[in-house]
């Protein structure tokens, strides 16, 4: 029973973390201009198959915003802890159930 209570308390951490969205909103990361890509020479010409010549528009998706990376890191940590705590509680409950069944079996004999 205590274990389940403790797990419930731990599961509340994400609720507390995201309860105050306005107050806890991250400050905007300083705008960083991505380095300009080096020019890639394509000796094969446009009609060849294989690797495609790079152009500026392709590199736009390369820069991942820092706040997304920080959010992913914190989210992963919370998820890992909650999952682990729930897993320990479930394993504990299974063992307790098995213990009860065995005790009853012993008392019956």
């Amino acid at each position: 029973m205590t274990n389940i209570l403790v797990v419930l308390v731990l599961c509340c951490a994400p609720l507390v973390a995201f309860a105050d969205d306005d107050g806890g909103a991250p400050a905007a990361a300083p705008a960083v201009k991505p380095p300009s890509p080096p020019a890639v020479l394509d000796p094969r010409g446009d009609g060849d198959e294989g690797f495609e010549k790079v152009d500026g528009s392709m590199l736009k998706g390369e820069s991942i915003p820092a706040d997304r990376l920080v959010g992913a890191a914190y989210g992963f940590i919370l998820l890992a802890f909650v999952t682990y705590a729930v897993s320990v509680a479930l394993r504990g409950r299974r063992v307790e159930e098995e213990l009860d069944a065995l005790r009853k079996k012993l008392e019956g004999k």
């Binding site: 403790v6 991250p26 992913a72 992963f76 890992a80 802890f81 098995e98 213990l99």
Partner: protein, 225 residues
């Protein structure tokens, strides 16, 4: 651990982890790396707890190897599981930080490689224990001691070898605005570690009782047959 203390630690851990983002986002933005440096506030405490888990596991393993103590064995397995848990947090949050700071998720840098090695040794501990058959406890206890020996290596790696990973001195030289949130996170992670350790030890104690009861049932059946 006494029940009220366990509940108090659980409340402190949950409140700490819940409040940490407010403090972290309020801390100054680092001048070189920018906003992504905020991963530091839970990456480093996770690493501290990984080391603590490895030492707890190795301590329990030595206790078990020397005295054959079941309590030592329970401590070793609980510590090993927490090393794997906090270790995966280090190995996931580090590359997310590196993606922005270094431009790549992973490099075979000595600090990163030895950290991965530590995590894999304790993962091997858990596999050996589960699937190792007879003698698995002693085998895995040896692995725990071997794994803990990697911790000092990880710690000094950035000073001894050439590494692009930040040095260990960044913690002691933190500015006043960053020091408070950082140690707050370390304390929260420590409470969480203690709570999870106690929960895991309680599970092992229940399993030990179950094994005793299984033996009692078998004895009872043998006596009647």
């Amino acid at each position: 651990m006494k029940r009220p203390l366990l509940i108090l630690f659980a409340v402190l851990a949950a409140a700490g982890l819940g409040y940490a983002p407010q403090l972290i986002f309020g801390a100054p933005i680092e001048s070189t790396m920018g906003f992504v440096q905020k991963i530091f506030y839970f990456h480093v405490p996770s690493a501290f707890m990984t080391f603590l888990g490895a030492f707890v596991s190795a301590g329990g393993a030595i206790w078990y190897l020397v005295n054959g103590s079941p309590r030592g064995d329970r401590l070793a397995v609980a510590g090993a599981e927490l090393t794997v848990l906090f270790g995966i947090c280090v190995l996931v949050t580090g590359p997310l930080w590196a993606r922005k700071a270094w431009g790549t998720y992973w490099r075979w840098d000595v600090r990163l490689t030895t950290s991965l090695l530590l995590w894999m040794i304790f993962l091997a501990y858990l596999f050996a224990r589960r699937y190792g058959g007879a003698g698995a406890k002693r085998l895995s206890a040896g692995l725990a001691v071997f794994g803990a020996a990697d911790v000092p290596l990880i710690y000094i790696s950035v000073s001894v070898w050439r590494s692009i990973h930040p040095k260990t001195s960044v913690v002691s030289t933190l500015g006043p605005g960053m020091r408070g949130p950082f140690w707050f996170c370390v304390a929260s992670f420590l409470f969480l570690f203690l709570v999870l350790l106690e929960l895991r030890l309680a599970l092992e104690r229940s399993r030990a009782r179950l094994d005793e009861l299984h033996l009692a049932v078998e004895d009872h059946l043998d006596a009647n047959s």
